[in-house]
């Protein structure tokens, strides 16, 4: 419908219909299908002595470590910035681009690649949050030195497409009202103090989420003279979400996981199969 420009905004808004995604956190999401997430790793394709991927990995997510008889690759998705350089560098296809973005986890070790058969169940959340907060969550966000990419995606959560409010999740100005401290950035020397003060100002029980690879591990930007390496050793972290930046559905998935409204999908650096509960809306 074409309306005159002078028709009131309210009428215009009503005639626009609903644009909010029904997305369900499983399988393909509209608008995200071409999104390049964490590259998948298949060590069976690796050639002996090859280190092309490790040399092309700026944040050091891929490293050669001494193994039992020879060096092997260690892959830490908590350091991955989804730049896809390893995919291009790998001569054998051991790294392949994928649409895998739902990498929120309650345990840092779930982000480190392990052979599926040997992987125990994901460690999951350390604490029961649902009993505490029911289905609602209030978030205080702190930018501890991001590149503004994570903020761009966090701000997108409140656009009509994702409409975070419908899930009972809200950003709040005061840490006194906040249940969750959501931190972006590698933690600069100057933001460390204000970050800790914010955490101290939150009432207990309080939870902490490291959003984006910088906050999880420092990523490409951490270290150096002015930055730490993310939240490790700074605050007790309940939820790690790597991604550079994590796309809005990944953030929503991690938030709902925190509320135990959706399961963790990453174990041993690999996503579970998307098929089993595809199409189920969130509880």
């Amino acid at each position: 419908m074409t309306l005159k420009a002078t028709v009131p905004w309210t009428v215009f808004g009503l005639t626009q219909g609903k644009v909010t995604t029904r997305w369900r956190g499983k399988g393909a999401e509209p608008g995200q299908t071409a999104f390049l997430g964490m590259p998948r790793f298949d060590p069976d394709r690796c050639r002996d002595g090859c280190r092309e991927c490790a040399d092309a990995c700026l944040p050091g997510a891929i490293k050669l470590v001494p193994g039992e008889d020879r060096e092997r690759l260690s892959v830490d998705y908590g350091r991955c910035v989804v730049c896809q350089m390893c995919v291009e560098a790998c001569p054998t296809g051991a790294f392949a681009s994928s649409n895998d973005w739902a990498f929120g986890t309650g345990a840092r070790e779930d982000l480190i690649w392990r052979r599926a058969a040997a992987s125990p169940e994901g460690v999951g959340l350390k604490r029961e949050i649902r009993r505490v907060f029911g289905r609602s969550l209030h978030i205080r966000h702190v930018d501890a030195g991001s590149c503004n990419g994570c903020e761009s995606e966090l701000q997108a959560l409140n656009n009509p497409y994702y409409n975070l409010h419908r899930l009972g999740v809200f950003f709040t100005a005061s840490p006194r009202f906040a249940d969750l401290l959501l931190v972006t950035g590698p933690v600069t020397y100057a933001m460390r103090g204000p970050l800790l003060e914010t955490f101290e100002a939150m009432p207990e029980p309080r939870f902490v989420m490291a959003a984006g690879t910088c906050a999880v591990s420092g990523g490409t930007n951490g270290g150096g003279y002015a930055c730490g390496n993310g939240l490790g050793g700074v605050l007790p972290v309940d939820m790690y979400l790597p991604g550079c930046p994590p796309n809005p559905p990944a953030i929503i998935h991690a938030l709902l996981m925190l509320l135990q409204r959706t399961p963790q999908r990453v174990r041993g650096g690999q996503l579970d199969s998307c098929d089993s509960t595809a199409g189920e809306p969130y509880a």
Binding site: A5, N148, A156, Y189, G219
Partner: protein
């Protein structure tokens, strides 16, 4: 193209700097930025000044080795250089004679570093004990009426960390002082020692919502150092990516501006269009911020262009309706008109760039004036406004958005075939200067390579560093109710400024 090999470089004695700067400014030049690096070891800094002799001239370089004598500050003649000098003092340990405001800039008050962080050598150790900012003492008949409002660094909503000090009386802001460097990450130092190709990934992460333009300016610098000619198809596709970046940024800008004028549906619509643009980005590049394609020598892979023309046509139609509605909404326009006036002379002298300077009537755009890549073949329309206020800044962005769509359409219509990438290896000890027009103005990268062909020094001049310097001039003597609108109308980022 944009290389130092074609850039006229002059060696100046420290004693000649003031006279030369005065002469150049008298002839209409603008100093762009300055920095220091250490080609001959930690005791011998070399200063570089990047000068635009005229609007459409290629930049020129001045090189100065001050030796043991402190070089003169040029801040009194070219005010925009003041911040670069203070940053050079903080990070490179070079002190400037007669610098009018010798306080630290990039390192917060109360920061101690055992050595200047960018001087070659071991990793410096920073210690930090927060201490109050220096604020001016306000005189007057009733100084007790003046209140101090410190705000930040953590602000309400999802925003970047930055701290503002307002000295105000009632509604009137008497003095405004931002502290922009809580987010200083030492990004320039993070480039040091990296292989040039790998560091493009880092350049994308200096200012996340300027990923394309930052990577582009960086790659232009490396390509200049390598004397490498980028294949024509890649230059066209780079233009496409850069204009897609402008589109989603400007849509975000308009949604955010509506947020500050409390036009709720206008905010929702702007941010919905931004989301749609980001989803187009994803279809094209696999990244919502268009990361992962630009590399020295061209592009890493083909962008996916199927569906882009149709998506763009839809977006243009929706945006036209949106822009028409904004133009017909007097409650919105009333808040913008005469808010945050930036006079052209202040914009020029203090270094405003991008839509901010173009909204103050300065007809400058590096895509046209210092043309790079395919912009010579795809001349961009440059939007200008004369009213110098928040309204002008909105109008420039709206016009630029339509221009960007037109440029992308031209790219799709005439995209040349051919290779995407060429070998690009800058030789040891080479250097290059590159630039690109981000959605916020011109970004420059200067790169210097070491004896092994790795990056020895990378200087980043970001547009928000320039525009944040300018912004307070529009806040002093304004009122509190207009502040948020004025800030949104500048469309600044902190990450680009603080680096």
């Amino acid at each position: 193209m944009s290389g130092s090999n074609t850039i006229k470089t002059e060696d100046l004695a420290a004693g000649d700097l003031v006279a030369r700067c005065r002469d150049a400014l008298g002839e209409g030049a603008r100093m762009q930025f300055m920095y220091a690096w250490f080609p001959e070891g930690p005791m011998a800094p070399e200063l570089r000044y990047v000068v635009h002799p005229g609007r459409t001239c290629p930049p020129r370089l001045w090189r100065c080795r001050p030796g043991d004598v402190p070089p003169p500050s040029l801040a009194a003649i070219a005010p925009l250089l003041s911040w670069y000098e203070r940053e050079t003092t903080d990070l490179c340990g070079v002190v400037f004679r007669d610098q009018p405001l010798p306080q630290p800039l990039v390192l917060l008050p109360g920061t101690r570093s055992d050595r200047p962080p960018l001087v070659p050598g071991p990793m410096p150790h920073l210690s930090y004990t927060p201490s109050p900012e220096d604020l001016p003492q306000l005189a007057g008949t009733t100084p007790e009426d003046v209140q101090l409002l410190p705000f930040g660094p953590i602000r309400a909503d999802v925003l970047e960390s930055v701290q503002f000090a307002f000295l105000y009386a009632g509604e009137a802001i008497l003095h405004y002082q931002p502290q922009l460097f809580f987010k200083h990450r030492g990004m320039e130092q993070r480039f040091e020692g990296l292989a040039p190709a790998l560091a493009a990934v880092l350049a994308e992460r200096v200012s996340g919502i300027g990923s394309v333009a930052h990577a582009l300016a960086y790659c232009h610098a490396v390509e200049a150092a390598a004397d490498c000619e980028v294949p024509r198809r890649a230059t066209w596709l780079r233009v496409l990516l850069a204009e897609l970046e402008r589109i989603y940024n400007h849509l975000h800008y308009l949604g955010n501006l509506c947020h500050t004028t409390t036009l709720k549906v206008g905010e929702a619509q702007g941010k919905y269009l931004e989301e749609s643009a980001k989803q187009l980005n994803t279809a094209v590049s696999g990244s919502r911020l268009l990361r992962g394609l630009i590399t020295p020598g061209g592009l890493r892979r083909e962008p996916q262009l199927a569906g882009l023309a149709a998506g763009l046509a839809w977006l243009e139609n929706e945006f036209q309706r949106y822009a028409d509605r904004l133009a017909a909404t007097t409650s919105h326009l009333d808040r913008l008109m005469s808010t945050g006036v930036l006079p052209p002379q202040v914009a020029f002298d203090q270094g405003a760039t991008g839509p901010v300077e173009r909204a103050s009537g300065l007809d400058r755009d590096s895509r046209r004036d210092q043309s790079y890549g395919a912009y010579a073949e795809l001349p961009p329309g440059v939007a200008i406004a004369e009213s110098c206020d928040a309204y002008a800044r909105q109008q420039v962005r709206i016009a630029e958005l339509f221009n960007s769509i037109a440029i992308i359409r031209a790219v799709l219509a005439g995209l040349p075939d051919g290779p995407l990438r060429t070998e690009c290896r800058p030789p040891p000890r080479s250097e290059g200067l590159g630039w690109a027009e981000t959605p916020r103005g011109t970004a420059y990268y200067a790169v210097h390579l070491d004896a092994d062909g790795r990056l020895a020094r990378v200087k980043i001049k970001s547009p928000s560093f320039s525009n944040w310097r300018v912004f307070p001039y529009t806040v002093h003597d304004s009122n509190m109710m207009d502040y948020a609108i004025n800030e949104a109308s500048f469309g600044l980022t902190v990450s680009g400024c603080a680096r």
